[in-house]
Assembly symmetry: D2
Homo-oligomer: 354 residues x 4
């Protein structure tokens, strides 16, 4: 029997870190050897996450101060669940020490330090690593992930937007300009940030847009869309905060390349879209293209690593509407990171995720 | 002192009816003389709506069977809070008997019986009345409402979409084609319909689109937009169901007529939009154009007859994003109907609504 | 016409302060002349509370630094919506300057500085004022409130517990020992405190007890119960945090003085309890004793100053179960404070509260 | 390798049935061979439960009409997730055909047909089977479950009440009379019943008691308490409906047999209680006795088969307060049923449940 892969989580006390703990503990082929948290150093996982307290490993494993050299000794694969700007400090030393690094922050998702600075407001802390990093969207970059030392796991909004658009764009079925993504996110998307606008009584019975019109996630979405389109793509993106714990629902407004004025044109285009998604995702374990009248509902994906996708052609407007739903913390963060780890380590891709 | 106007509500047991009861009871210049409900006939308002039970009038006023002749004797102004198709049966006899009728259903919102049939699936029950009806959006049709005998109070989604768009469209600031309305509604928007998809455990922790791409409300929205534009307008409209009791949040994607590539062009266009809204709504008591960085939030309008509107020009995409928030049951239904009644009866327009 | 009474709110930026603003602005016989907030000094009410922004007074009235001398000039009645320990600092100077003070904190609810210290953990900051203060529960202390200069408005839990118990206790219908109060509170009860346990994602889909077994509110509850019973009363009190914005639901477990083993004894006791409540609350505008099978529901009182009360005798256990529901911010705080102000100022008690 | 045990679910379309589907599909030692539903007969699991649609077994397995003879051929263990009164019809034929039956309804939880009739309002449909049935609370009846042919899985409220009380009662640490259980339940506890009081807008922002003072679950709770106490026990039980999807939180008011006026008496009693729970549950995989200051929170158990228990002695009142939290659908229904199946089939008890 193969010995388990040793893994560590840096910054394990946020929502993504907490979910990574759960996923790695139930994963049959890895061992969780270290978790770090400045705030909780010295305390056991069980003390901080009472819901995992039945697991004896959570009663023995303690949070430690984050130190790259110790992490490098403790683990072969290190997950960084840190704020952007901070993650980059750890990546370099860990890579130098021979670890594989899966970063859940935004630090390595872009190729250009200039775009990073434009969207994140400060110089990139480790620009030399940008070219090494692979964008950890397994459905798109599976073979690159397999070879990578540094994986930049995508943001939650980007995952919900890119997976539905990319196959259509690559197949030339839709125009690359004029696309709109209208997204709804549960409040855990804000992380465990203790700010007044995320208090229960401020979010409950509230629906509100924010970050309009230039949210940070646009940078990585547009980079990936541009790569797929072979030219610069600008996206309209509107995020909204919704009183649920988990989930992102995205509604995309796209323009097919072909007109479909007649019924036969419409039927033909429907066939092409269906075929495009079937080809792209027919064998993907975590993508569910909905059939018949079904539309996505976040409650059908929360707690899972799935993305649900449905689409409608609208003959009245000439548009293609595509809708998607994911769990922002799982497929939008920790689940996808574990999916990348499975690829990287040669495990079956669904291990520990079904 | 002027005697109060006598009012009645037909179909008072749904959410809109319940809110009308509240608004009419606190209105200083009207008397609520009759409420009807087939289901609750014989019971007092206090028995069915325990939250109003402290009002002695609710302990004496009883639901009755809906009969046009009795209603016509009891009231000068009759509100119809009935399903579409049913409301039209009552409007004719009540108008013939000299009542003013304010209908909250969709029955008289359209001018064309053919469009009604296309969207509602059955022949219009009283096509002759369609030309008599005034669309009860006070900010737009104040003078017509003043003279009307039959007022068709707008739907909730249409209110949230038309108020932000109409001034821009009339001023020629935006293109009339290609508009998109992405809307989020609280669950009370479905009425008190006892269907499995509206159970608590099916809605809570759920976000989902529905009625894509051809929701019924499109018919009245497009008719009003076409009237304002002076030509046929087709709208993309995507409603979503969100786990809050009250509220509609709409995000509109619009294309300005003018390009605004340079900063000075952008500043000029911003000035024109601000001026357009100021001119249209500067004196409107129920329209709040947000300033500075503020964005709409349904929690700031629920329980009120207000609409909040904010807008952003996006130089990256060339689009104008307009966002609005209302209480679907008040500004989106019963409050707006009372606002129309105030105009109709010559009361100050805010009476009983602040 | 009588000039309006001038009022001020110290600490107006919390939930109770925000609700006081709303209530005082709509009150026909008072004027709100000053609002203070260290954090927001210089900003208008409209900027901090966007939902009141339609009111022109909110666009002109600005938060100021809290200074007793300026407040004393600006207002005849001053509401203190401050944390305990801080309120007491303002009360003395304001009273000396001739203001009437209505304090929503816990600072003046107890007669004994020693009990204050036991429950609040520090010396009472103004013990001399304790004897002057009147406990502002209008249904109990109406005549004292009329004469008071300093009113200590009750806590939310105490209101929900005392109103149902006191008449029974005074009438000798229940035993004064062994009483249990099990209470559920919405999250606004924690105030606008920015602490991790009140984040949306920590409260939503959560139900949890806290403060077991010795919550601070016990001190004022037991003092009032002891006064009513004429002897020292100890209460079991268990508060729970529930994911709603507003509301307190309390279930009380009481022991009737008389046995009611037979049906006739039970009927007799039922008659006595009904009569007791009828006598105590039959003419109270804000107390609703539920009839027939109805049980309290917080959604029937939120947004109002009402308390709903229902009771059941259980022949199987020999107990009397009494249940109550209030809005924690209105009848449990700001509404009750305005009710006291109405009494104090000689206005009809329901003015501005229906 | 041992072939998997064949299992079937009768009435698989409710919330308990849906959860059983999930648990049995991920269980490594069983095969789900049949699911029945009158309403959905002919449709696949994937069509009715879209969230399971990624599992190929859900795309092939179809709901069938419930027929005992077919079920008996298809499965060795049959779960009945049916309303009370209906379950009993299936149990007899299935037992006769040699199946093991795990019933999630109330039909076989009581020993006395008379008590059944008193609480459920109709004659017991299969009284002869009552003596054969074992009450499926594994922590209490593990050895009986191992030998049983018919297991009556406990109700959700009873589980949350019995597990905390039974060890104390058996150890003689608390009085058997005068106990009170105050419980809060999420709305899924009402099942998928399509009734107005369970609509989202009726439950959200609502807290309310119901079924006071004689809820049906009292019958099985009191029977089990009486068995443990060796004499008839009467319990006060107050259930409340709370706007969360999942979870039961119970607060128990108990009277220790011994007084604990002095600190040393209190310390001694605390030691006895701690030891009692340690002895009863120290090795139980699904019982978590909380330590230090921790109190139960339903969000720490939802999605799991765990029960959290904490307790406090109150020297002021002389009472012992015990609090528990479970997921009403898992430990309160389907998870516990699978736990019983594991015992029955000789699997490790946690199989498929961690």
């Amino acid at each position: 029997m193969v010995p388990p892969i040793k893994t560590a989580i840096v910054g394990a006390s946020g929502y993504s870190g907490e979910e990574l703990v759960r996923l790695l503990l139930r994963h049959p082929q890895v061992e969780l050897t270290a978790v770090t948290s400045r705030q909780y150093a010295g305390q056991t996982l069980a003390q901080i996450f009472p819901k995992y307290a039945h697991d004896p490993r959570c009663r023995s494993l303690r949070f430690s101060e984050p130190k790259a050299e110790l992490l490098a000794k403790a683990a072969q694969v290190v997950f960084l669940a840190l704020p952007h700007g901070v993650a980059a400090e750890f990546a370099g030393p860990l890579l130098d020490a021979g670890c594989k690094v899966i970063d859940l922050s935004a630090d390595f998702r872009l190729k250009s330090p200039a775009v990073y600075k434009e969207f994140y407001g400060h110089e990139h802390p480790a620009p030399a690593l940008l070219q090494k990093a692979v964008y950890g969207l397994p459905e798109l970059y599976r073979s690159e992930i397999k070879q990578a030392a540094l994986i930049a796991s995508p943001g939650c909004y980007p995952t919900s937007i890119l997976l539905p658009i990319l196959p259509l764009l690559k197949a030339g079925l839709i125009k690359s300009n004029g696309m709109i993504a209208d997204s709804l996110s549960g409040v855990s998307g804000a992380g465990r940030k203790v700010e007044p606008e995320f208090l229960f009584a401020e979010c409950n019975e509230s629906m509100r847009p924010y970050g309009i019109p230039k949210h940070r996630h646009l940078s990585e979405i547009e980079e990936q869309l541009s790569l797929a389109a072979g030219k610069a793509v600008v996206l309209q993106f509107s995020p909204h905060l919704i009183p649920v714990n988990r989930g992102i629902l995205t509604t995309l407004y796209l323009a097919p390349e072909k007109h479909f004025a007649s019924e036969s044109e419409m039927a033909a285009l429907q066939g092409q879209i269906a075929q495009c998604y079937q080809k792209a995702y027919g064998n993907e374990p975590f993508v569910r293209i909905l059939e018949d009248k079904a539309l996505p509902d976040t409650k059908n994906v929360t707690g899972t690593n799935m993305i649900e996708i449905a689409w409608r052609l609208d003959a009245r407007t000439g548009r293609l509407i595509v809708m998607s739903a994911i769990d922002n913390i799982i497929k939008g963060a920790s689940g996808q990171a574990v999916q990348s780890m499975n690829i990287l380590c040669g495990f079956p891709e669904t291990t520990g995720l079904l």
